[in-house]
């Protein structure tokens, strides 16, 4: 089957994205006080090393049991055992290009061909100057499953570390370099 209707093209969110896209509770994938919760923090920089102060990241992830509350998960939709788990977060960058999301580590996921995906979040990056969202993944350090993750293993080994968060004082750090040296790996989905 082919697409009978053409898709609507993407356009940039522009510099005033905050009017329409920021939520007071946006950063909270899980509510404050959730056991095991941490902050995922990072900074977005452009090809000149300058902070990207008018961007937004959105995250999507499984819960710690590796489940989604979604009808298309063939294992069945299952509400997380964590009260208030949303699976989704959004956070605009500040004047120094920093974002922060409050979340928990997702569980590993089965794949259609019997493999296991290491715990990961998927991130979309929107911003002025980005005509379409950029998609990347956040993996966690010291996860044995990273070594055999079917997505990480397809990424150029010299660039794999751009997908790995690093430990930080109150959680993990994941910087995003849009362009240039140590450019973050972005995906076509």
């Amino acid at each position: 089957m082919s697409e009978s209707l053409g898709v609507t093209p993407a356009q940039t969110v522009g510099p005033y994205l905050h009017i329409g896209l920021t939520w007071a509770d946006g950063a909270y994938v899980v509510p404050e006080g959730t056991p095991g919760a941490f902050w995922l923090r990072g900074r977005i920089v452009d090809g000149t090393g300058a902070a990207v102060a008018d961007a937004m990241v959105e995250s999507w992830q499984a819960d710690p049991d590796g489940r989604f509350d979604h009808p298309d998960d063939p294992r069945g939709a299952r509400r997380s055992t964590i009260p208030g788990f949303r699976g989704f977060g959004r956070a605009a960058t500040d004047s120094e290009g920093r974002y922060a999301l409050h979340t928990v580590k997702p569980g590993p996921l089965p794949t259609f061909d019997g493999d296991t995906e290491a715990p990961h979040l998927t991130l979309s990056v929107f911003g002025r100057g980005l005509l379409h969202r950029l998609v990347t993944r956040v993996y966690f350090p010291d996860e044995a499953a990273n070594a055999t993750d079917p997505v990480l293993s397809t990424v150029d080994p010299r660039r794999r570390d751009t997908l790995l968060a690093s430990p930080d004082t109150d959680g993990f750090r994941f910087d995003i370099r849009l362009q240039g040296e140590h450019e973050t790996v972005f995906f076509a989905v």
């Binding site: 898709v7 993407a10 790996v185 972005f186 989905v189």
Partner: protein, 246 residues
């Protein structure tokens, strides 16, 4: 359901967009792309559980007047009152029901209620410029707002953005997420706008332009524009092809 489903995960998959469907990330006419567009090619990501699921948002996020940008303050905003309505569909023409649609826009004078927008056009105390709605069972949404004004920017000499409304859509899967802009038919500023023209294919560009809708236009009250939004559709799975004996 096949018995195999017990042991193997059979996932839906979404069609990959054509090369020309979206603007190239590096579109130098839009200067901000030059330092922000990645230079490395995108890495192919198979659609797995994280990609074929997504946030099903909306319940509890929509206030009673969120769809009516003219009734969010004590008085009515200045400008031409308009109805903007349409359907959210997938590439096969199927409705995308109960999905969150977020919009934001400049006021009638072309000014955004935003600290970074400092061009000398008036703010309107009765206009914030943000709306939210959920599509109904047929994928329909409906907003009431005012016609946004054009505004200048510094991208090139005498640069003006054509009037537009920003649209954000989730669909039902991470792969369907889309942020776009809705334009108005016959805008004389299209020719010089590098954001509109970043979409190379003329037919694709026209998909961002709303249609004036005289049937929905309400006499002595508001002009109407119809804007359907198409998110990517699903591939039929091999299993459906083999086992579907309907």
């Amino acid at each position: 359901m096949t018995q195999d489903a017990d042991r193997r995960l059979i996932l839906p998959s979404y069609r990959r967009d054509d090369v020309d469907a979206h603007p190239p990330l590096l579109s130098p006419g839009y200067r901000s792309t030059v330092a922000r567009a990645p230079r490395q090619p995108l890495t192919y990501l198979p659609q797995r559980l994280t990609e074929i699921t997504g946030p099903l948002l909306g319940e509890g996020r929509i206030g009673e007047l969120d769809h009516d940008l003219t009734r969010q303050h004590d008085g009515e905003p200045l400008g031409q009152r308009i109805i903007v309505h349409g359907r959210v569909l997938d590439g096969d023409g199927r409705a995308v029901p109960h999905t969150l649609v977020e919009i934001w826009q400049a006021n009638a004078a072309g000014r955004y209620r935003h600290a970074a927008d400092t061009w000398p056009a008036p703010l309107d105390p009765n206009f914030t410029g943000v709306g939210r709605a959920l599509t109904d069972a047929d994928g329909r949404y409906h907003f009431v707002t005012v016609q946004p004004g054009a505004y200048p920017w510094r991208n090139h000499d005498n640069a003006w953005r054509p009037a537009h409304i920003h649209f954000s859509l989730f669909g039902r899967a991470f792969t369907q997420r889309l942020v776009t802009q809705m334009y108005f038919p016959g805008d004389p500023l299209f020719f010089q706008d590098p954001i509109f023209n970043s979409v190379r294919d003329e037919r694709a560009r026209q998909r961002m332009v709303a249609r004036y809708d005289h049937t929905t236009t309400r006499p002595e009250w508001a002009l109407a524009y119809e804007f359907d939004i198409v998110l990517r559709g699903r591939e039929a799975t091999v299993f459906e092809d083999e086992d579907d004996d309907e």
